[in-house]
Symmetry: C2
Subunit: 403 residues, 2 copies
Amino acid sequence: MVKIAVLGFGVVGSGVVELIDINHDKIARSAGEEVYVKYILDIRDFKDNPYENRFVKDFAEIEKDPEVSIVVETIGGARVAYDFTKRSLMAGKSVVTSNKELVSEHGCELLEIAAQHNVSYLFEASVGGGVPILRPIISCLSADEIEEVYGIVNGTTNYILTSMIKDGVSFDDALKDAQRKGYAEHDPSADIDGIDTCRKMCILADLSFGKNIAPASVPTQGISGVDGLDVAYAQKASANIKLIGRTVKLPNGKIISYVAPHVLLKDNLLANVDGVFNGVVVRGNATGETMYYGKGAGKLPTAAAVVSDVIESAKCKCGSNLISWDMAGDEITGEVNDLSDRWYIRAEIDADEASVTFGDIEVLGSDGQGTAFITREMTGYECAEKLENINAFAVYRVLGNNA
Amino acid sequence: MVKIAVLGFGVVGSGVVELIDINHDKIARSAGEEVYVKYILDIRDFKDNPYENRFVKDFAEIEKDPEVSIVVETIGGARVAYDFTKRSLMAGKSVVTSNKELVSEHGCELLEIAAQHNVSYLFEASVGGGVPILRPIISCLSADEIEEVYGIVNGTTNYILTSMIKDGVSFDDALKDAQRKGYAEHDPSADIDGIDTCRKMCILADLSFGKNIAPASVPTQGISGVDGLDVAYAQKASANIKLIGRTVKLPNGKIISYVAPHVLLKDNLLANVDGVFNGVVVRGNATGETMYYGKGAGKLPTAAAVVSDVIESAKCKCGSNLISWDMAGDEITGEVNDLSDRWYIRAEIDADEASVTFGDIEVLGSDGQGTAFITREMTGYECAEKLENINAFAVYRVLGNNA
């Protein structure tokens, strides 16, 4: 029997406890032994909860109990969670988490501490919720040089953009609707401004390239500036606007990471990842493109990813899981503007002028304000140079080939 | 340094040797040590090959060399490959393979032998080529009770069906084109008749449910009977005909597995998996549906999956990987006809008669021969009963909801 402690009894923590109950037999079969929740740490009281007698308020009780071999951290944030994670690892306990903030900010250090103490630090649930994506990168694409990873990894913004596309509503109305339905927080900024996407994208980049990419170093643009007009113009090219976190390794070894809305043409694998679903594309030099899709959030899907890590940790009797990445110097960071793509532009310019300036373009339409069009492939620098004396309302990179 | 032997120097075997050369550093980093090909077994001569001095013709040389800890079997078939795999495992060497025939026929026994000798038997490349699918099921969905797995897992038939859909050509012409382009064998029966799909589906079922599903027990229908007329009628419902291998676990524990052409409505996750690509959907009771997509075949994608298993095996210092399934009795096998779905039917009947017989239907069109329509959900028994006195040209299950 493997005894675990769950830190935090919120949505994910209570989901973990519930799932270990519901799928008890399957989990025991997968782990090779029973998984038993010995403690639940929470500062709140849970009277009449069936697990009432397992709640504790003092982390030291868990820390000092040698019977607890795995700690599940679902507290969130990077303060208390950081302290408890570090102390757990140093006490020789493996830690499993869904905490993308902590992993993206301190993963490199925590993995090192885990390795020193011959235990695991695992975080499949931190990206893509229930969608298996980290372990496929780590263990299934372990023979590939990863060249690019990009994805829709935030359900809230994808729900809002999908409403704008399907119902033709404005950003503000779509946000209000998402808040009413519980898909967006009262303070939605971490989602809307792309911060959550940025953290998840950093974790994907860390694991794909073996180098630490700090969230603070990643240019991040959210979706609050996305105009319904651009959503409608994109639709004329059968394309959808999606918030994408993307990280690319150039042949010279430089890594470019950024978060921004993109125009996805209909042949792109993520063009129809709608609503609260997530999708991630990984391109390896041997395997080519593979895609992973499913529910990016929710109590049980996220809990399932956490418990799969508990099982992995329980099975790994001989120490740590060999996941790690190096602290990287600035020299590995490439310039986003060096990256070549096609561009969606809506600017105060007529179609003929746009043609003269940008060469071969696909015009999506014109109105009183100007013209919307898609350009040929060019770097961000080249695009910015051409737009220097033009008033542009929207400039997005385009992914896909069909338009 | 981990020393390996590669059995068979065909497409996959030579791809493995090539990939270990191309991605040497990344593979060493992933495995924690260098991976070195010490022997290549092949009955043919390869003069002037850069690996010329590593070729051997006698398997006993590999079997007796204690330095070889991992054997890569890419011979194919279930005779010589079975013998060499068994002997390798019994000599204390882990075995990695892409051989779906051998795994689907003898995987249960070979995994048992591997466990007895504390080594691994791994076969990620046997299903979906480069698409990570087995390890996600085994280790990422290890906390889920799997309820259903279905997929497009044969690139040849999918290429042929995609040609029929996109170019409006007949099955015979599409097959000839696929043969010309090297996507179909001179004797294409293992693909066309669904045998390859059946083997892969059995491996997915074995791992998902922990019970051995023998290929011979699985009702298997190929694509040679798919008529261009049905492809065209399906298109009227924005639907595509695809060859699907499917395995479902009913709430009563019975497992239903079969291979057949299906009509996939456009909201189904696999409806647009085209050409030689593969896609697999897994439904777990906690995670819900996840989907995996990528190149299902090809030298380097398949080699990448094989080498990722070599790396996994090299990292697993403390014995076998705990994958196993039980030999199952007949009592777990459910009747395909018990499974409820909507149905695509083209039969010698007019639309009014079809309505009277089948109730609420969606008519896709009529011609001199009869009518094509999609029914409400019903079991295979109910569908067969209604068709008892009707001459039906095509009867396919429908997946998806949008029509």
